[in-house]
Symmetry: C2
Subunit: 383 residues, 2 copies
């Protein structure tokens, strides 16, 4: 039993959306397939992975380093002890051979795609959903599992921004979302306050609204914003400042009672440890959003959970960045606090919302094959 | 006046060398040329850059994101105020458009190559060596400049390791190096101690020897090593542990008088600030080795210097990782404490050693054109 081929395709995600930090006009994302020599129903069993959007596709790095390394390995090196499945931890060690420590930027996203595809393959070979495999292996709940989800969106638009925003918030609330996140931080504070007030007006409550600054604010602007928001009772304020300025996070946490959320631009266990050690975040309210796929995948995410729990945090404070099915499986299988979802994305949740929660499905693996845009994303790799 | 083309070539650096962290069998490095429409002697003036070796080439990222972004920009966006040269700070801002904060891994190395090529071009258009341009612009010494250099090497070899090591140390001492660095940390301590004693035996003094663990040791192994080395009076102990475990660096610095060196796997101003804030390093002895080319280039390196100096450090404690001509120009022009050089590399220093120091030369730009292996590295891009 071995991996016979690994294919990557970089897809254009072109959009006129903007957040406070970047535009999405040139955005890309990678789709990856990992082909095994196990044949079922006359076809090889294939593991699938799809990028988290926002830090570009990972095709160059995958082709230059990580795909060749795994294809060059002997199958004995990555089969599990039983010989009937693959071992994601062994695969991880192979693709990270001859990689220096530190420098967790693009590499975690490339490795994360391979890791995610291996887990999809492993679950398919067990003929179980990935969330169930994770729950079985790592002590999660097997029955009556449901995941709290929130809708992300509210990007800046070039024209009719406020009208678009109201309409989008209204549409997401009508879909059943109980918590909705919008972008701020990219325009003067007074203009952002109009966006926030418009969203609260539609939702009827500040507690149903989270705001995301995408790390763009200076210290002075962040303090002004948190002061202006102090009476709005928002769900959380996300990435107010540079994600690596831990000292500034500490200052903000000391002077602001509102929950802070961060972590989507922290891509390793080593950086997570520093975030927990230095950023003064509060285990009773703050939210950790490390992205599973962009952070070396599930193997590294388990290390992150171990770090945060050994520092007195509950994994219920983890709500990964992403809005895709891999992340949903991880949230359901490992018992995380919630899941981000993008109602306009190519890979929406397939299960219906029930009072702000979604139950995981029964399809084997991650469940990509059930998504309506499956062929738009993976078709080019499967032919 | 504009940039008309940017070309990248990924070169194989295959070697049987090993350090404690990685093997170099599949190592690659990027060469990059940035072609202007300024014609001199019948040929366009071209800026050149060559990777620091150890974290692989950057061709994929350059082609996917950074080269297209710069080529798509209008020349007005990156010319300097006089209109007679290019502005490296403007180029930097263009290539970093639509990039999220955080995640400083491979991206800094790709951007660093473009930054380095722009500086080479800028200096050539001024018909001055790069070190001189940097000294003029940023208050460095213009006369009687010399840079302390040390020889790096002493990698593990598969066969006859100790004999190879002795011979290499002897050869480098004979070339005139007063300080020599060897690799340790990849074998049991007793075996490393034999390497260290062999090197001291050849050099006649522990103060002439530095050792590099490449971030590979556990806390227990690092404490054992530092205890074993405490009476050897070594020049420094480099990267004993994971470069991002700042708390562990602090513990080591508190219990060990030997100078520590780190920073070659810290690739941004944001990470440098955390290193300075949290790692307990001592401005009177410890050495900061951030790599100019792998860390977004000279534009970001200037930010790093500003951070360390605002925290009470002297830039004389900076000795960048690399062993190449760009780094040497930066050390000479910005008045850093020293320069790493690899006597066996493809791009050795061209100037003779004088008592452990080297004076910068007079060739315009970085000076690649004077190197004997110039065509092996850039030939494929210039034809």
């Amino acid at each position: 039993m071995r991996i016979t081929d690994i294919r990557e395709q970089t897809l254009a995600m072109s959009s006129t959306m903007r957040n406070a930090s970047i535009g999405f006009g040139g955005m890309t994302a990678s789709a990856l397939t990992l082909v095994s020599d196990v044949v079922r129903n006359g076809k090889p069993v294939v593991g699938l992975a799809y990028d988290s959007v926002g830090r570009y596709g990972h095709g160059g790095l995958l082709r230059e380093r990580f795909i060749p390394r795994l294809l060059a390995a002997d199958a004995d090196e990555y089969r599990d002890g039983s010989g009937t499945n693959f071992d994601p931890f062994k695969v991880w060690a192979i693709v990270m051979r001859d990689e220096k420590p530190g420098g967790h930027g693009e590499r975690p996203g490339a490795v994360g795609l391979i890791d995610a595809a291996v887990w999809d393959l492993v679950a398919k070979l067990e003929d179980k959903p990935l969330w169930y495999v994770l729950a079985e292996r790592f002590g999660g709940k097997l029955n009556d599992v449901r995941v709290s989800v929130y809708a992300t969106g509210g990007h800046y638009r070039e024209a009719d921004d406020l009208a678009h925003l109201r309409e989008e918030v209204r549409r997401n609330a009508a879909l059943g979302y109980k918590k909705i996140k919008i972008k701020i931080g990219g325009v003067p504070l007074a203009q952002d306050m109009r966006r926030i007030e418009a969203a609260i007006d539609v939702l009827g409550s500040g507690a149903a609204l989270a705001v995301d600054c995408n790390g763009a604010l200076s210290k002075a602007a962040a303090l002004d914003l948190l002061t202006a928001l102090s009476t709005y009772g928002l769900a959380w304020v996300e990435e107010p400042v540079d994600p690596l300025d831990f000292e500034l996070h500490k200052e903000l946490a000391q002077c602001c009672a509102l929950p802070l959320a961060t972590g989507e631009n922290i891509f390793s266990a080593a950086d997570t440890l520093n975030l927990i050690r230095y950023a003064g975040l509060r285990p009773d309210r703050d939210i950790l959003q490390m992205d599973v796929s962009l952070s070396y995948g599930i193997v590294e995410y388990l290390r992150m959970l171990s770090i945060i729990e050994s520092h007195g945090w509950s994994r219920r404070q983890c709500v990964p960045h992403a809005g895709h099915l891999l992340s949903f499986n991880v949230a359901a299988g490992l018992g995380l606090g919630g899941h981000e979802t993008s109602p306009t994305s190519n890979l929406p949740l397939m299960q219906p919302l029930e009072d702000g929660y979604v139950r995981p499905g029964n399809a084997p693996g991650v469940g990509f094959e059930q998504a309506k845009n499956f062929y738009a994303i993976f078709g080019g790799l499967l032919s």
